[in-house]
């Protein structure tokens, strides 16, 4: 996988920078029967982003985009916490939150595939209204809950490993199975690569698009549960704010083109890890908040430049080039008949 080489390199450089500032950065200990260390933190906090990005990858591969994932994150967390705060069972709360997420995703898919609205606008509707919905559920307050089994999802550990990481691995495995073992991946890439040709090849593009948006929303829903469970509270306004942007960025860093077609799940995971590592680096290196964004701009620029073959070629090989003594062809005055 040569494509993944460059994001991997950037990730490595970021980690090295961290080690220079915090020598113990790479160490992982067992504390209270939990794995503990900065690397674990990156995975743990990166888990929701990875999930959202996985769903986003498939959406982007169909040539679409989903701006509503952030709102779905908030909605699912809000609904689950609301129910738990009203003494519903954790299982019921989780199930209904995810069901709602899937329904919202299917709605997006319906607008895109059924009504034919451009994806960015179709999902913008839910992005705006969904925030409102999440706040409606929480009544604008932060719902705080205290439930150990719910806490497991985003803040707990299982066999010393943070449960969130296991959850991500599971979703990743399922996604990889569906898309790479079964034929879903090829059909998605085909629809994203050339929609009309796919239709004429007999692919049911509509169904696939609805499934993909629903899947993205499901991933966002799980991420929402994780985020709210991690802090034992649901914040309708701030949960998942701007996560769609980070997710799209992760997908793009991972080498998937925004114009649809080929996608790479591994690349996306790597992209999300780069973003999360960058965030952690900013905290632990002590970049002042005012310059955080400059730092981010710098890293993103470097990442995208280094990933570009054109840039590498221009930067590392210099080939002299003769140009034509180009006599400008004049326009014809007369039309030849």
């Amino acid at each position: 996988m040569r494509r993944l080489l460059w994001p991997l390199l950037v990730l490595a450089v970021l980690l090295i920078v961290n080690v220079l500032f915090t020598p113990s950065f790479l160490s992982i200990q067992l504390r209270d029967g939990h794995l503990y260390g900065s690397l674990i933190d990156i995975l743990r906090f990166g888990a929701p982003l990875i999930l959202v990005s996985l769903g986003m990858t498939l959406v982007i591969a169909t040539g679409g985009i989903d701006l509503s994932v952030g709102s779905v994150v908030a909605i699912s967390g809000a609904l689950a916490c609301l129910q738990i705060s009203q003494d519903a069972s954790v299982f019921g709360a989780v199930a209904s939150a995810l069901a709602l997420a899937v329904a919202l995703g299917a709605w997006n898919g319906f607008l895109v595939a059924g009504v034919g609205i451009q994806p960015i606008i179709a999902t913008l509707i839910l992005m705006v209204a969904g925030r409102g919905l999440a706040q409606l559920i929480t009544d604008g307050q932060i719902i705080t809950i205290n439930n150990p089994s719910y806490k497991l999802i985003g803040g707990g550990y299982w066999l010393t490993v943070p449960f969130g990481i296991l959850l991500v691995l599971a979703v990743l495995a399922v996604t990889a199975f569906l898309t790479r073992r079964l034929a879903l991946g090829m059909l998605i890439e085909s629809v994203g690569g050339n929609a009309e040709a796919s239709r004429l090849a007999g692919i049911r593009a509509r169904g696939i698009i609805v499934v993909v948006y629903a899947f993205a929303a499901l991933c966002a829903g799980i991420a929402g549960l994780m985020i709210s469970s991690n802090v034992s509270s649901a914040d309708g306004n701030n949960a998942g704010l701007w996560i769609e942007l980070d997710a799209i960025l992760a997908v793009v860093i991972g080498g998937t083109s925004l114009s649809g077609g080929r996608f790479s799940l591994g690349g996306t995971v790597l992209g999300a890890l780069v973003i999360q590592t960058l965030t952690t680096t900013i905290y632990s290196v002590g970049v002042p908040p005012e310059t955080t964004l400059l730092f981010k701009a710098l890293v993103v620029t470097v990442v995208c430049l280094i990933q570009s073959p054109a840039f590498r070629q221009k930067a590392f090989t210099r080939r002299p080039r003769t140009t034509a003594p180009a006599p400008r062809a004049e326009e014809k005055a007369e039309v030849i008949v």
């Binding site: 500032f21 915090t22 113990s24 950065f25 504390r31 209270d32 503990y36 260390g37 900065s38 933190d41 906090f45 706040q135 009544d139 604008g140 307050q141 932060i142 705080t144 803040g155 985020i227 991690n230 802090v231 034992s232 509270s233 914040d235 306004n237 701030n238 949960a239 704010l241 965030t279 952690t280 900013i282 905290y283 632990s284 290196v285 002590g286 002042p288 908040p289 005012e290 955080t292």
Partner: protein
Amino acid sequence: GSGGGSGDGTITMGFSQVGAESGWRTANTKSVQDSAKEAGITLKFSDAQQKQENQIKAIRSYIQQKVDVIAFSPVVESGWDTVLKEAKDAKIPVILTDRSVDSKDTSLYKTFLGSDFVEEGRKAGTWLVEEYKSATDPVNIVELQGTTGSAPANDRKAGFAEIIGADPKFKVIASQTGDFTRAKGKEVMEAFLKSNPDIDVLYAHNDDMGLGAIEAIEGAGKVPGKDIKIITVDAVKDGMQALADGKINYIVECSPLLGPQLMDLAKKVVKGESVEARVVTEETTFTQEQAKTALPSRKY
């Protein structure tokens, strides 16, 4: 019939809120709405979703709708002159809540009702200085700032820095934005804990970030409130609970319950009575003991 209420005696107020970005803000909105109902004032409410341009638009539309009085919580201090002048030309009095504006022409608004964020920062600093009065070792402080650039973040940081700056033993070893949210507060604190082995004090610009940080501290095997002392601002219910539980050491109140005071002012202003140019909300601070007594009656 919405506008021109002065004739039939009922007052119509246009209120432009910043947004609903936090529980604090929601409590603020609710307080305004409830008190308006109690005071018999017709309230036109609009949410600007954090955007100054939306607030300007809303105010302009209130002028268009000929309300009796306009109240709003400015997103930012600057840039209100134009629209306030329009309000003045239309002879509609304006009340500022929560934050002031920096206009030189003070005739553009009748009064400003709200908290003083710098003062809140100072109160937090003062408690800290008092708490470590006898200590000689350096005190390592980490700070969780609010949203970069937002007024409370700027002012609470400045007020705090002003007080502790007097004594070189207080050192802010790390300061980072937590966007006023629990999740970010937790995430940033985890990173702080990894890169800075000995943290003595955490100053968070609001309760929510403090609450997130508490989870991070517990996760690192330390005891919040003991190993690391915690100061926050706001005094929302969850924060007060943590304070009473001994996980937070000190909270500076920033009260969102401006509604009753606002309605009183509005009535006076509409009648043409003179009001004070600056009305400070009644706010206090809480220690752990005070929290235990105050908690049962806490509304938000």
